[in-house]
Structures are given as C-alpha cells and as structure tokens.
C-alpha cells in the first residue's frame, strides 16, 4: 500500500486515543495487505496460487472476498476477472514499457476464466497454472474494515481515506455530510469537484497515471480479461459513492471497463457517480 492514508476523527479526540486507534487500524490494514499480497510468498493468496490445481481450504474472510470477485465477474460479463493474474508479467506499466505480443497473450488466455473456478464456503479450486489477483479489491475492503473497527471501538464519527478509497464509520458529529474533494484527473493535486458524502464509502478508478502510450494510442492499466488486452479510450476518472467502499470500488472499476458506456452502466446502479473524461 504505497499511498498516503488518513483518518479523520470528530469531535476532538485525545491524542492517546487517536494514536491507539491509528495503530489498531494500521495493524488491520497490514494484516489484509499481508494476507492477500501477491508479492509476499507466505500470504494466503500466494498459497492459493502455489496450490493451483488442488483444493485449497479457505476461511470466511477469503470466501467472502472471492464471492465478491465472482459477482464482479458476472456483472462485467467476464471482463473483470480475478484469475487474470497470469497477465501481470506481460503487461508492464513502468518505463521502458512495450506492448505484449498477441502470441504471448494467446498463450495465457486458457489460464484465465472464473468459469474454471470452484468456490465453496471452505474450499477454493482453480486449474493448475491459474493465478489469482485480488489487487483490485484489497484497498477498498481494507477501508471498510477500518471503518467497521473504528465504529466498534466507539469512534462513531470517523472517516478513513486510504489513498483515495474512502469509508466512514458513521455520519459527522454535526449531522452534516463529509465534504470530499475529487482530484482533477488531468491536474494532479487540484480539486475538480467537492461532493458531499453523508455516510458510506467512496472510491475512484483512474487511468491518468498508469498507461502505455504507443503510436499515439493510450493503453490504460485496465485489462479486459476476455481479450487479455489493455483497454483504450477510457474515461480519465470515475468516482462512485455507495453504502460501503467495497461496492463503490467495484462499481467504479466495472464502469471503467465499459468505456464510453460507463454512464449508462452507472445509471443502472442507482449510485451517485462522477465521470471525468
């Protein structure tokens, strides 16, 4: 998690209390990060990936995350797929970046597809060689968990901001909405619009900062799992508000996948949203 994280507490809280809450929440964020990290070989996710081809026992938390991945796969009609992890090595978004070849993609496509997955409350199985990547779900889930834990600890008026993924433990002490500034997709550090959030969560999906530009065409970091290719001609940024950050993040990601149909998609969801082209 290499983005700034912030916790807003109201009304004024004693320093020790605030510090103790911060430590508690930071621990939870690290826990989730470690559990579902693709980069740490001893994480639960890495274990699942190592065990591809075999039945892997999973706990309730993992089951619920995977269940969500499944719903997102269904909602996106297969274009959002957590089994697209095998594509990671061929799509590099750091300099120097080049596009993968069609042969490379074709080789990997058989290893992608949630239809090849079996999920039950206690067991997960995918074909050998497949790789799970829960990167698209982790941060929003962590934000929601922090909001939940803060509420449990008695902090009813708290806003968590994990690098743009926002979750609140409740409404503000004065019953007014939290004022959230959405960053300008074209000008980093500038507020584009300030929007009110009474409670719940908010998340943003953006394509401004990670892309590969080849022959004037901009390939975003958002991959279509059905084709294996990065999407082009996408909005710069989509922000969605929902009862929790996880749903907000899911909707913003799925909407982004729709490209110019993002607006239609989000209208069907009935959630508040803001799109920047």
């Amino acid at each position: 998690m290499a983005s700034p994280c912030l916790v807003l507490l109201e009304p004024a809280v004693e320093f020790e209390q605030a510090q103790s809450l911060m430590e508690y929440l930071a621990q939870e964020v690290f826990r989730i990060q470690q559990k579902y990290s693709r980069y740490q070989t001893d994480s639960v996710l890495s274990q699942i990936n190592q065990k591809s081809g075999q039945n892997t026992a999973i706990d309730t938390e993992t089951y619920q995350l995977l269940q969500m991945a499944q719903v997102l796969w269904q909602l996106s009609k297969g274009r959002f797929d957590c089994t697209s992890g095998v594509l990671r090595p061929v799509w590099r978004f750091h300099e120097p970046s080049t596009l993968p070849t069609q042969e490379q993609i074709d080789e990997l496509l058989p290893l992608i597809g949630w239809q090849q997955v079996e999920l039950t409350h206690s067991m997960f199985t995918m074909h050998k060689g497949m790789q799970l990547d829960l990167g698209g779900l982790g941060k929003e889930y962590a934000a929601d968990r922090c909001a939940y834990l803060a509420r449990e600890r008695g902090f009813q008026h708290c806003l968590i901001n994990l690098g743009g993924d926002i979750a609140t433990s409740g409404i503000r002490a004065n019953h007014e909405p939290w004022q959230i500034g959405i960053e300008n997709a074209n000008e980093r550090g500038q507020v584009w619009q300030t929007v009110p959030l009474l409670q719940g969560g908010m998340a943003t999906s953006g394509t401004s900062f990670r892309f590969i530009e080849v022959a004037g065409k901009r390939y975003s970091h958002i991959l279509d799992a059905l084709t294996g290719w990065a999407l082009t001609d996408l909005p710069r940024s989509i922000t969605v508000a929902a009862p929790n950050c996880t749903e907000a993040g899911a909707l913003s990601t799925l909407a982004m996948l729709q490209g110019d149909k993002a607006d239609e998609f989000l209208q069907q969801s009935t959630r508040p949203y803001w799109v920047q082209w």
Binding site: T41, S46, Q47, Q50, K51, T56, A57
Partner: protein
Amino acid sequence: MLIRVGLAFALTLSMSSCAQPQVKPWERGVLAEPAMTFGHDALKDSIADHVYFAKEATSGGRSLTGGGGCGCN
C-alpha cells in the same frame, strides 16, 4: 524396554526434524487440510476415548484427559 523404544522413537523424530528442510508457510496447503490436522474431529475423538476409558484399564495419551472423569471405571 518401554524406555528404550520410546527413546529410539524420540531420537528418530528429532533427527528427522533436523534433516528435513523446513516447510515454508506457503507450502502448507496440504497440512492445513482438516484431515491432516490432529484433533480436527475433536468430538469424534473424545467419544472414542470415553468408550475405551470405560472398558479398558488404560486410557489417554492423545491429549490431557480432561473430561475423562466418570464413574464408569
């Protein structure tokens, strides 16, 4: 004789643990399965232990007796 056999067993086990490469956390998939965990079927085990406790002169060993108290022996 009991002591000698026991010692041999313990020695073998400790030697094998030194010789075996450590199993890393991400390699523990199989070991995490319920069937591979000692005591995963605690209720079934305790039922069996109790039946044998009532009918034989010796009992225990698998875990601390706790709960074996019964007028049946």
